[in-house]
Symmetry: C2
C-alpha cells in the first residue's frame, strides 16, 4: 500500500498529466488551423480525355500504353466511376472553378468569337477561395476562361500562371498565312504573376505544341518545391494540354510505346504523373497532399460511326463502354476518369459509382481546406467531404442537369437519363423530342433503348430537380455571356 | 583441434550427408513427377460473359455490382486483355477442350438440329490429356459438345460430371405445351461418372434455372475437397450457366445488388468465385492451384443499335469498349475477360495485351501438368507457358483466323483486323466485301473506320497465316459435322 509520500507523488504526476492534456486539447481545438493542418491540393486536369483511357478504367494496355503511375494513384486512393463534368472545355472549366453550372456564369459554350468572354470578376473561383484560406495558388496550363485584361488566371485568384489563355486548336492554325492575313491576333504562351500584366513568352505554334506539357510539369514541380520549403499549403491547378488535338507527344516519348502517337502520349502523361507523385514523396509531403486526377470532358473523336475528326493528327479517343464524344449529352461526354488520393484519410482501393459532379469539388475542397463557400450566390456543388473520406457511402447527389452549350439536353437521375435533345457526336445532327427518351445507364451504357414505357415513373422522380433549377435561374439571372466588368447579377 | 575420433565422426557424418544429397537429387530428377509437383487446375468458364463485366476490366460497379473476388483473383495473378475465343458456345467449348479450331472437329456452329453432334471419340480433350497425366478430372456445368451416348463429358475424359448436355435456352422452353407436343425430347440435368450411363436428375426448366449454378459450385467444392484429401492433383472444369439468358439469379441474390437481376447475378458469380478461392485456402492448396477465370464468348445482347433480345429476362451485357455481341467477328465477340492465378509462379498484378487464344490453354496446361500434346494431328494452340509465367513478354502468337460458324470472317493480326465478312450483331445482316475492310483495334476499338488505304501492307503481313491455315485444312480434312463414331479423319 502507498504511504503518504506515495499519494503526494501520484498527486503531483496526475496534476502534471491534467495540465498536459489540457494543453494538447487547446492545441488541437482552440488554436487557428496551422499550415501543417491544411492539406496541399494538386488537381491534374486533362483535356478531352475519355473515361476509357487509363488502366484503372479498363484502358491502359488496350490503348497501347500501361498507365502504371495513374493506376497507382487510383489504387492508393478513391476511384469514382461516375464523376461527371460539363461537356465542353470552357463550361467544364467554369464549373470546376466556381462550383456553379457554367450557364450561371455566362460560360455555357466554348467561345468562338473574338469578344470579351470568360469569368467576370464577381465570380469566386476555387483559387480565390483557397488563396483566402491561406493557400499559395499556382496554375500551369490551359485556362479558356478569358483572354483579355482582368480575365487571366492571375486576375482570378492564382498567384502564378504559366500556360495558354485559350485552347490548343490555336497551335494548329495561328501561323497559317490565311490566319495571319485575317488580322486575328495570334495566341501566346504566357507567364504571369498576380498583380502584373502577363508576359508573352512565345507564340503557341506547332513547334511548341509537343513541348508545352513538359514545361507545365516542370513549373508545377518547381512551385510545389518552393511552397514546401516555405511551409505554405499550396493549390496547384494543372490543366494539361494533353490529350487535345493535335496529338503530338514530346520528342522524349515519340515511338516509346511502339503503338503510335496516341499511346506515346498516354505514356507521357503517365510519366509526368509519376514525376509529380515522386516529387511529393521527395518533399515528404505526400501524406498531406490531396491529389486529384481527372479531365474536363470526354474524348473528341471516336470511330466514324459516331464522330470522326479530319485533323490529321487527331486519333480516336476511348470513352470505354460509354456512348459518344464531347459536345453531346451522352455518358461518353459526361463521365471522365477520376482518382483522388489522400493518404491516411482516404482508404486505398475504394471504388464508387455514386454520382459526383465537378461542381462538387469546390465546396468539398473548401471543407478540407478551411475555405469559405460564398453565401451570396447560388452554388450548385454539393459538399461531400464525408463521402470522399468514406464516412458515408452516399455522395448526396442524385443527379444533375445535362447541359450542352446553353441548351438543356436532359436530366440524369440515379441510373437513368432523360433526354429532351440528342446529338450523336460533336459534329452530329441535333434531334429534338416531343416525348423525352429514357435510358437505363446501368443495363444500357450505350444509351440506345428508350425505356420510357414502362418506366413512366422516372420523369416524375427526375424532373423536380429540373423544375427547381429553372426556377433558380429565373430568380437569380445568370451573368450574360460577354458581360464586361464590373458586373454583378441582380438578386445576388 | 579434433582428434582421431573427431575425424571419424566427421567422416561418418559427411558420408551420410552425401548419401542424403544423392537421394534428394534422385528424388528431384529421376523419379516420375510426384502428385505434389503437379498443380491443380480450376477453370471457371462463364457463358456469354462480356469483356466489360468484371471490375478488373473497368466494369463491376458501373454494371451495378462490385466484383471483389474476381478482381482479387486478377490482382493476385495475370490479367490478359486480349484473350480470344471462338464466337459461339459450341465452337468455343470445342476449341478450348481440344486446342484446335472448332471447324477441324466439326463443331463450327451451335447445333440447331436434333442429330448426332459434338466431339467424336477420336478427339483428345483437355480432360483426357490431364487424366492421362494422373489428374482426377471433374466437370460441373454446361457441355454443349454432344448429347448422345458416347458423347457426354464422362465419355471424353472426365471422371465425374454434373450439369446439362446442351445450353440454357432449353430451360426456357422445354416445358412449353407446344414443345411437349412437338415430340422433341426434354433436356435433363445429369449426374454421371466415367463408365456408366449418365443419370437424369431432373428436367432443366425455369424452376431450376436460378438454382443450378449454386449446385455446380457445391459439386466443384466437394470434388476439390475429395481430391485434396486423396492427395491427387485435380482438374476442375466449371462451365457455369451464368450469364446465359434467361437472367435469373439465385433466390439468395435476388435484390441483393439493388440494381436489378443482371447485377444480382454478377454479385452471385463473384460470391461463388470467392467460395472457390476460400476453399483452396481452407484446403491449403491455393499455392499449388492454377485458377483461370474466363468465358466462352462475348455478350449476347447489347443496346438496340447493335443487337437486342426479345427474351423477357435477357439484359444487355457489356463488351466494354469493344464492338458488338457473340456470333460476330468483332472484338466484342472475340475478347473475353481473363485472369489466371498461380501463387509463387505468376507475379501478382501483371497485365498483358498480347494476343492469346483459348486454344493455347491446351498445350500450355499440358506443359504445366506434364501432360502429352497429341502429335498425330493438327494442334492450333501455341504452347506459351513461358509467357504465362512471365519469363517472356511475348505470347508467341501474332494472330488467328476469325471464324463465325464455319465461315472465315476475317484475320486478326497484331493490332489489326481484316474483315472479309461482317455481321453487326448476332441477329444482324451479313455483309460480304469484295475488298476486305481493315480496322486498327488500338485506335479504333469500335471497328468502324476502314483504313485499308493507306495500310495496304497489313494484308501482306496478315494473310500468310490464313494461306497456311487453309492449306492445313486441305491436307488434314476436318471431322465432318455430325460424324458418327468410330470416326478417324484421313491423314491423321
Amino acid at each position: 500500500m502507498a504511504g503518504k509520500e506515495g499519494y503526494q507523488t501520484l498527486y503531483r504526476h496526475s496534476k502534471a498529466a491534467i495540465w498536459l492534456l489540457l494543453y494538447l486539447w487547446m492545441a488541437c481545438f482552440s488554436l487557428p488551423a496551422s499550415a501543417e493542418e491544411k492539406p496541399n491540393i494538386l488537381l491534374v486536369f486533362l483535356d478531352n480525355f475519355g473515361w476509357g483511357e487509363p488502366g484503372f478504367n479498363g484502358g491502359g494496355v488496350i490503348r497501347g500504353a500501361a498507365t502504371l503511375s495513374i493506376d497507382r494513384l487510383a489504387n492508393e486512393g478513391l476511384r469514382l466511376t461516375n464523376f461527371n463534368v460539363e461537356v465542353q472545355c470552357t463550361p467544364s472549366r467554369s464549373a470546376i472553378m466556381t462550383g456553379r453550372y457554367a450557364v450561371r456564369s455566362g460560360n455555357g459554350t466554348v467561345p468562338l468569337g473574338e469578344g470579351v468572354y470568360g469569368l467576370v470578376q464577381w465570380e469566386v473561383t476555387m483559387a480565390e477561395m483557397l488563396a483566402e484560406a491561406g493557400y499559395a495558388t499556382g496554375m500551369f496550363g490551359k485556362w479558356h476562361l478569358g483572354r483579355t485584361e482582368g480575365r487571366f488566371p492571375t486576375d482570378q485568384g492564382f498567384d502564378e500562371w504559366y500556360g495558354v489563355p485559350n485552347s490548343t486548336d490555336e497551335s494548329v492554325y495561328s501561323s497559317l498565312p490565311d490566319f495571319v492575313e485575317s488580322g486575328l491576333s495570334e495566341t501566346y504562351v504566357m507567364d504571369a504573376t498576380k498583380g502584373s500584366v502577363p508576359k508573352k513568352v512565345r507564340p503557341y505554334r506547332l513547334d511548341y505544341r509537343p513541348l508545352i506539357d513538359r514545361d507545365l510539369t516542370d513549373r508545377a514541380i518547381g512551385f510545389m518545391q518552393r511552397q514546401a520549403e516555405a511551409g505554405k499549403p499550396f493549390f496547384v491547378y494543372l490543366p494539361y494540354t494533353a490529350t487535345h488535338f493535335p496529338t503530338m507527344p514530346h520528342p522524349d516519348f515519340v515511338g516509346k510505346s511502339g503503338n503510335g502517337p496516341w499511346s506515346d502520349l498516354l505514356l507521357q502523361i503517365d510519366s509526368y504523373v509519376g514525376e509529380l507523385l515522386d516529387t511529393l514523396d521527395q518533399l515528404g509531403i505526400a501524406q498531406n497532399t490531396i491529389v486529384i486526377f481527372t479531365a474536363d470532358n470526354g474524348p473528341e473523336a471516336l470511330s466514324s460511326g459516331e464522330s470522326s475528326m479530319t485533323v490529321e493528327t487527331a486519333i480516336h479517343g476511348s470513352a470505354g463502354p460509354w456512348r459518344s464524344t464531347l459536345f453531346t449529352g451522352y455518358e461518353g461526354a459526361l463521365r471522365v476518369p477520376f482518382a483522388m488520393r489522400w493518404p491516411g484519410k482516404i482508404e486505398p482501393g475504394r471504388v464508387s459509382d455514386e454520382i459526383v459532379h465537378e461542381m462538387d469539388l469546390f465546396p468539398s475542397l473548401a471543407s478540407f481546406s478551411g475555405g469559405k463557400v460564398p453565401s451570396d450566390r447560388v452554388i450548385d456543388g454539393v459538399e461531400m467531404s464525408g463521402f470522399l473520406l468514406g464516412q458515408t457511402d452516399k455522395s448526396g447527389r442524385d443527379g444533375f442537369i445535362v447541359y450542352m452549350g446553353n441548351d438543356i439536353f436532359g436530366v440524369k437521375w440515379k441510373n437513368w437519363k432523360l433526354h429532351f435533345k440528342e446529338q450523336t457526336g460533336w459534329n452530329g445532327v441535333l434531334r429534338e423530342y416531343t416525348m423525352p427518351r429514357l435510358y437505363n445507364l446501368m443495363s444500357d451504357p450505350q444509351e440506345r433503348d428508350n425505356v420510357l414505357f414502362p418506366h413512366t415513373w422516372v420523369p416524375k422522380a427526375a424532373l423536380p430537380q429540373l423544375v427547381e433549377h429553372v426556377a433558380s435561374l429565373k430568380k437569380y439571372p445568370p451573368v450574360p455571356t460577354g458581360a464586361t466588368d464590373p458586373y454583378r447579377p441582380p438578386n445576388q
